[in-house]
Structures are given as structure tokens and as C-alpha cells.
């Protein structure tokens, strides 16, 4: 098992190298540069700016310099948020996005698992149809509709919660609900599907035959297997949740990573884009690894293969 994990970590290095290299060259192909503005800067100024950010060197040189700094863990200065380095901005934004992501995940699991299990216990009855229709609705309503809708009801009409900001606990409720809702809906559907499949199997019948209560069978015996699809969905989902959502962060004015990333793309903030892509890539690779490990633990068959 440990060998497997070590091997997988080693595999990440070439993958990351390919990602960094591809992004490094492709972002420079996009028309428009970081210093293009409404008012064209004079050639002298452009020259100094290019020199400052080492954009005057030949491309291969820039690439080698970037890789050298990267090996030392230095992602360079941001072009747009010029007073801050990319490392600092990621360090500032990621805890915020992580926090939001964890709350949203909690919301998603709490609602999704509950709804999915309840639905699977009496398939094709009202107990199934009602939560599943709500889940369908949750998948269909995009966050950019749900967010303002929740803000309208809970902030503008009821006046219970603030519409924007990221300070006290009261600021965190609406964004977590908004971000969690869509994931909750997916989780509910996956849970129901997984549970139905497991509940139809022989060992469940055996457990029932032994006289165990329905609740005990579902929670102790079926859940472990029924959650398989949810777990494989959670890997990329958690990475997505933790790295921030541009939409939710923009709607609620949250200083997280998602907003930095999209702003960076619009501003041709090369170093910031690179830093963010790298950060995302590492997170996603790590979560995929974590999922594989958890799945092996949940399913003895996979463990033996590994």
C-alpha cells in the first residue's frame, strides 16, 4: 500500500511538469499582454516593464528561469496585484476557499446522504420521488441563480444574514448553502443509485434474514458499499470545492482563490495563472490519490488487486 502511494506521488512530477510547460506557452499565445491598457504605454515604459518582469528575454530563457524559481518554490510576483507575490496571494486565498469548501462539503454530505438514503429505502414511492425531484432541481438551478435568490430571501427580505463579505460566522452561511446545494443534489442521486444496487444483493438479504432491523441493515451493512460511487465523485468534487468557486466568491464578495484565478486570466497575469494552475493540479492529483486509497479501504476486492 505504502509502495503504491509512493509510486503515485512520483508519477505526479512528470504530470505537473507537462501541465506547467503547456500552460506556460499557451497563455503567451493569447492575444493581448499584461500591460495592455486603454491608454497605450510608451515604448520606453513598456521596455522597463518587460525588463522588470523578465519578459524581454527569449522565451526559452523565460521558461528556464521560471522553472528554476519554481523548483525553489517561488511563483514570482503577480502582474496585476503588483504589491503581492503569487505565493502570498495563494496563501491568503486558499484558507478562505478551503474554509468555504469544507462548509459546503458538510452541507452537501449532510443533505445529500440523508436524502439519498431516505429515497433508497422505499424506491418509487413518494419518499423516493420528493427528495429526488428536489435533487434534480438542485442540479438544474445554477449557483449564479441560487446565490442571489438566497441573498434576496435571507438578506434583503428577512434581513437575517449579510449579503456579502467574509468576516464572522454569519457571512459564511449563505455561500456555504449555495455552493453545497448543487453537490448535495449529485450526492443524493449517487447515494440512492449505489444504495439500491447494494440493497438488492444477497448479503443484504442474509442480514435481513438474520433478523437485523431495517435501519441497522442500511446503516451498518449497505452504506459502506452503497457509498462507493459517492466516494469516487468526492475526489474531484472536494478538489473543486476547496479551490474555490468563482461564481460563489464573486456573488458574495469572498476573497478566495476562485476570484483570483479568473481575474488573473482576464488580466493576462501570467505568473498568477501559472501559480493557480499548478496549485489546482497538485490538489486534484492529491485528492484523486486520496480517493483511490479510501476506495481500497472501503472495498476489499480493490485492496487485493493493489
Amino acid at each position: 500500500m505504502i509502495r503504491l502511494i509512493a509510486l503515485r506521488i512520483l508519477e505526479m512530477i512528470p504530470i505537473l511538469w507537462i501541465i506547467v510547460t503547456l500552460v506556460f506557452f499557451t497563455i503567451r499565445l493569447a492575444p493581448g499582454g499584461p500591460f495592455d491598457a486603454e491608454r497605450n504605454v510608451s515604448p520606453e515604459v513598456l521596455e522597463s516593464l518587460n525588463a522588470y518582469y523578465h519578459l524581454d528575454a527569449p522565451l526559452y530563457r523565460q521558461y528556464l528561469d521560471y522553472m528554476r524559481d519554481l523548483v525553489h518554490g517561488d511563483l514570482g510576483p503577480s502582474f496585476k496585484n503588483a504589491s503581492w507575490s503569487v505565493n502570498e496571494l495563494i496563501a491568503l486565498g486558499s484558507p478562505v476557499s478551503f474554509e468555504l469548501g469544507i462548509y459546503a462539503l458538510a452541507v452537501a454530505l449532510l443533505i445529500g446522504l440523508t436524502a439519498g438514503i431516505i429515497a433508497s429505502m422505499k424506491p418509487n414511492t413518494a419518499q423516493d420521488h420528493i427528495p429526488m425531484s428536489l435533487a434534480m432541481l438542485g442540479i438544474c438551478v445554477p449557483t449564479f441563480v441560487l446565490g442571489p435568490l438566497l441573498a434576496l430571501v435571507f438578506s434583503l427580505w428577512l434581513g437575517w444574514l449579510p449579503v456579502a463579505g467574509w468576516e464572522g460566522p454569519q457571512h459564511k452561511i449563505l455561500p456555504s448553502m449555495t455552493l453545497g446545494a448543487a453537490y448535495a443534489a449529485y450526492i443524493a442521486r449517487l447515494t440512492r443509485g449505489g444504495m439500491l444496487e447494494i440493497l438488492a444483493q444477497d448479503f443484504i438479504r442474509t442480514a435481513r434474514a438474520k433478523g437485523l432491523s431495517r435501519a441497522r441493515v442500511v446503516l451498518r451493512h449497505a452504506l459502506r458499499g452503497g457509498l462507493q460511487p459517492v466516494v469516487s465523485f468526492l475526489g474531484p468534487a472536494v478538489a473543486g470545492l476547496l479551490t474555490g468557486s468563482f461564481v460563489v466568491e464573486t456573488i458574495f464578495q469572498i476573497p478566495g482563490l476562485g476570484r483570483f484565478f479568473v481575474q488573473a486570466a482576464f488580466n493576462r497575469d501570467y505568473t498568477m495563472i501559472m501559480g493557480m494552475v499548478l496549485f489546482y493540479a497538485v490538489l486534484i492529483l492529491c485528492f484523486n490519490l486520496a480517493v483511490d486509497v479510501i476506495q481500497a479501504w472501503l472495498d476489499p476486492r480493490l485492496r487485493r488487486q493493489g
Binding site: 493581448g32 515604459v45 521596455e47 503581492w84 454569519q170 464578495q253
Partner: protein, 543 residues
């Protein structure tokens, strides 16, 4: 079984208590009295930085003008120069030498006195080529400043600024520049604290840590307390400020508000006193239901279309004029933009420091059709395909569609619309890779020159390929002219040439549309959109 149920119940109870505690906390935070004189401002976007020598843009101007102060400030109501760090000044007969007398009690936020040398140091810094300051050209009116900035002169001693003593500065200008004083509240002219700059890097080094909270030493009415990118920038009253006794705000919180809807919601729920914008669709609602908070100020800016004069069919001035004349500007301001904007027949906003161009482009379908026929395209027949480019935005799209229809209706020409992402659009304009492109220009200072210099031959934001010697000569002569009336006459003639040649199609003059809480007092909207935070204060209704 019993035991399991009990523990579930215990957990349930704990959960209920946790929720109650959370709600209590929320209520408690909600009830904490709003602290006195803390102004909360929606500031558009996250600023590029706080170093007055390397920033550009409106959000940065707001912030830097709370943290720094120039020699002369502007009165928000009249836009006339008023004393700031300089308590008085005199101008030579020919208008080219200004002598400023600094007030002895002006000091930096760390207690150091503000001296004449702080200004010469700052101006040398911004003009130093290696710093690469995008806005350094604002100082080019000083003698030899342009040559120093562009590296032709290495000795700053030759630039027209001298510290006569600690409290006297003499500035020699290239030409009489009637707007020189009113430019002084622009961030590019602000002094910086030498010891602080050099503690964190070289004089000509960008983006050092000197602008961080705790490091930044300024001479403005406020000091930097907190800066969390994409979240908030907080400034608090500077007790060392020479006029601190008359500054009434204790704190200002600037929020980056890039989502218009959220900004409006924040205003409605009392999180903001001032917004940067209002969603266009909300303007009629506010106009009807809450006219007391909706603010519409004329703004020193023009929304216009550029025409690439190097591409057929727009190489022909008659075609350009025909297109320019077939725009019903009234209909656009009345039915499309609806924020109190005025239709624009000229490029320079009327009554800019007393200047108004009397010849303009009018909506004249007959004349437009005739010109198009003369150019060889009667009824629009035979005209090569025409594309109109704008940067992706709902508002630009609406305007472009309206104008597309007008050209179809009045000239019988088909124009296709193309939108591009901001940076791509900028590159297309710069490379003259377009036929007609949306554009806007916001004046930097209160003088027609800030508009007209855009279209000098090879000017940094000409971007049309248009060049006219008579135009260049008239503006050069205006620059040498001290007499304001004669100067404006020359500029009027120049603008007449520009509008007659029509490398641009003016559409409307901007307004600044925003929301302001009635609690904000001492407020004067103005053409420059300049906010002097040192004279504002809050007075909650009923207190």
C-alpha cells in the same frame, strides 16, 4: 439498542445547542453598535497597488488620495485649486514658473516634516525610466521632464524643479500650462517618503513592500491600517495630518465590488454608504422609488467609436462622415443607456474648464445618404462588409445593436457585430486590426487638452491611423499660448478638424451613476468624479 438511541439523542441535543449558540452569536454581531464615522465605500475593483508612482485607475486614485496629499488640492464643489501641502503659491508673468510655499506644519504619518525635497525626490522617482511608470507623462509639462523620462537626459538637475529651501519649491514648465495647478491632485504628483521607499528597496524599484500596512508612511489625512486583497482596505484617520482637526471621518473601508448586483444589495442592506456603480436596469427603479439615494453626476468622459482610417471603405472621409451622421444619439441616451447621459456631438465634454467646442456632428440622415452616394455607394450598394468591434459587455452590446439598426435603416448598410475579451480587444485596437471599434476616454485633468492630445499623430491612444498636420500644429500652438481665450480658440479649430475628418464617432458624454446614503454629508459630485474624503462626514438620520 437503548444506548444507541440515547447517544443519538445526546448528539441531537448538542446540535440544537450549537445552532442556538451560533444564532446568538449572529444576533450579537448584528447588534454591535456601528462605530461612529466609519465610511464604507464600494470601490470597483481590487487596486493594482498603493504606490502612487506605479498605479493607474479610479480605484487607486481614491485610495492614494486618502493616503497622500499633493501641493494643491481641488475644491470638490468648484474644482478650483485650494491649498494643501503648499499654503500659497505664485506664478510668473508668462505662466511658466510656479513657486510653492509649503506649510511648515505639514508632516508625514511618522511625524517627519514634509519638505520640498520630498516632492523633488518623488518627481525624480516617477520620471526615472527604470521605474516604468505608466502615468509619468502627466509630469511632462515640466521643463526637460520628458527627455529625462525617456532617457535622453540622465541628470535630474536639468529638469525644471528645484527645492529652493526646505519649504519652497520652484517649478519651471515647458510651456504655460493653465491646468498645471488643477493637475496637482492627481496621484502622479504626490510626494513619497524617501526613507520608507529606500528601507524596502531601490528608488526605482517597483512593487517593494513599502506599501504594506505598517510600512507605508504617507502625508494624507488617513493612514493604511489593513489591506486584505480582494476583501477590504481600511484606512484610519492620521493624527499627524496638518489639518487633522477638521477631518471628521475616523475610518474608511474600501471594498472591491466587482459584482454590480452584490454591490447594490450591499448598499440596500446598509453594508455600504457609497457604491461605485448601479446596475443599469435598476436605475429607473431607483429614480422612481428612491431618488434620494440615486446620484447622477456629469462626468469628464466620452463614449465614442473609433474608425480605422487605413481600411476600406473608411479611407474615404465621406464614408466616415456618413456613418458618423447616421447615429441618432438622442435615441441612444433616451432608450438605451438611460443614466442621464447627454448625446455627444463633440469629443471634448462641453464646459471642460470653460471650453466648449461649437461645431459638432449632428444626426442628419439626408446629408449622410448624400455623402455615401458621393463616395460611390448610393443606397449603401457596393459597400464592402463592415464590422463593429466592442469588448464583451452587455451594455456595449445593446448600444452596438442600436447603432447597427440605425445604419441599416438610414444608410441601408449591413454591419456585423464582433465582441472580444478586453485584452484581445485592446490588442486589436492597438494593431489597427478592426474597422469600427467601441472606445471611451475619461479625462485625466480638467482641460480640453486631455481629450485632444489623444489624436495627435502617433499619439499613444490615437489607435485610428488618423494623422493631420494642421491638427497637430494647432495643438502645438495652443500649448505655447498663455492666453486662455486664444488657446481655447485654437483648440476649437483643432477639434473642428478632428470632427470634420471623423476618425471618431462621438456617441454620448458619460455620467457617473452611483448610490449614496443620505447619511453621507459634505458631499459634492463633480465632473472629475473626485471625492475629497477629508471633508466628508456621517450623520445618521435622526441623530
Amino acid at each position: 439498542m437503548d444506548g444507541v438511541d440515547k447517544s443519538v439523542w445526546d448528539h441531537g441535543q448538542a446540535l440544537v445547542w450549537a445552532v442556538l449558540a451560533l444564532l446568538g452569536l449572529v444576533a450579537l454581531i448584528g447588534c454591535v453598535a456601528r462605530d461612529e464615522q466609519a465610511l464604507r465605500v464600494g470601490n470597483g475593483t481590487e487596486p493594482q497597488g498603493l504606490d502612487p508612482h506605479t498605479v493607474s485607475g479610479v480605484p487607486e486614485h481614491r485610495l492614494t488620495s486618502t493616503l497622500f496629499e499633493g501641493l494643491v488640492d481641488l475644491d470638490c464643489e468648484t474644482l478650483r485649486p485650494i491649498p494643501a501641502v503648499a499654503e500659497s503659491w505664485s506664478v510668473s508673468e508668462d505662466g511658466t514658473v510656479y513657486t510653492f510655499h509649503l506649510r511648515p506644519n505639514a508632516s508625514w504619518s511618522n511625524g517627519d516634516p514634509v519638505t520640498a525635497q520630498d516632492f523633488t525626490y518623488a518627481w525624480q522617482r516617477i520620471l526615472t525610466p527604470a521605474l516604468g511608470s505608466e502615468y509619468a507623462y502627466m509630469l511632462h509639462c515640466m521643463k526637460n521632464a520628458k527627455d529625462f523620462n525617456e532617457g535622453r537626459i540622465r541628470d535630474f538637475g536639468q529638469v525644471g524643479v528645484k527645492a529652493i529651501d526646505d519649504h519652497t519649491i520652484e517649478v519651471e514648465l515647458e510651456h504655460p500650462t493653465p491646468y498645471f495647478l488643477s493637475m496637482q491632485n492627481h496621484w502622479t504628483w504626490f510626494p513619497v517618503h524617501r526613507a520608507t521607499i529606500e528601507r524596502f528597496g531601490r528608488m526605482d524599484e517597483r512593487n517593494t513592500k513599502w506599501t504594506r500596512p505598517g510600512n507605508l508612511v504617507g502625508n494624507g489625512a488617513f493612514v493604511l491600517k489593513r489591506w486584505i486583497p480582494n476583501n477590504v482596505i481600511e484606512v484610519v484617520k492620521n493624527e499627524q495630518y496638518w489639518n487633522a482637526a477638521n477631518v471628521r471621518l475616523n475610518r474608511i473601508l474600501f471594498y472591491p465590488t466587482d459584482n454590480l448586483l452584490t454591490e447594490e444589495h450591499s448598499f440596500r442592506t446598509g453594508l455600504l454608504h457609497l457604491t461605485e456603480n448601479v446596475p443599469i436596469t435598476k436605475v429607473p427603479v431607483y429614480r422612481r422609488d428612491h431618488p434620494d439615494v440615486l446620484q447622477i453626476d456629469p462626468y469628464l468622459g466620452t463614449y465614442f467609436y473609433r474608425i480605422n482610417v487605413t481600411r476600406a471603405p473608411f479611407t474615404d472621409v465621406r464614408v466616415r462622415r456618413a456613418f458618423a451622421m447616421a447615429v441618432d444619439r438622442e435615441a441612444i441616451t433616451r432608450n438605451v443607456v438611460m443614466g442621464g447621459q447627454r448625446p455627444a456631438g463633440t469629443f471634448t465634454v462641453p464646459d471642460t474648464a470653460g471650453y466648449t467646442c461649437d461645431t459638432g456632428i449632428d444626426y442628419d440622415v439626408e446629408q449622410a445618404r448624400r455623402l455615401l452616394a458621393e463616395a460611390g455607394y448610393p443606397e449603401g450598394l457596393g459597400l464592402p462588409p463592415v464590422e463593429l468591434l466592442y469588448n464583451t459587455s452587455e451594455n456595449h452590446k445593446l448600444i452596438a445593436e442600436a447603432i447597427q439598426q440605425m445604419w441599416k435603416r438610414d444608410l441601408n448598410v449591413e454591419v456585423s457585430l464582433v465582441n472580444q475579451d478586453w485584452k484581445v480587444y485592446l490588442a486589436s485596437q492597438k494593431n489597427l486590426d478592426y474597422q469600427i471599434a467601441r472606445a471611451s476616454w475619461i479625462g485625466d485633468y480638467l482641460d480640453p487638452n486631455t481629450f485632444l492630445e489623444c489624436f495627435l499623430t502617433g499619439g499613444g491612444h490615437n489607435n485610428t491611423g488618423w494623422s493631420n498636420k494642421a491638427y497637430d500644429d494647432l495643438l502645438a500652438e495652443a500649448a505655447r499660448t498663455a492666453d486662455q481665450r486664444r488657446r481655447f480658440d485654437l483648440m476649437r479649430r483643432a477639434e473642428g478638424i478632428l470632427l470634420g475628418d471623423a476618425p471618431i464617432i462621438p456617441i454620448f458624454y458619460y455620467t457617473r451613476v452611483y448610490l449614496k446614503s443620505p447619511a453621507v454629508k459634505g458631499w459634492h459630485g463633480n465632473l472629475l468624479g473626485y471625492i475629497s474624503f477629508k471633508t466628508l462626514y456621517l450623520e445618521e438620520p435622526g441623530t
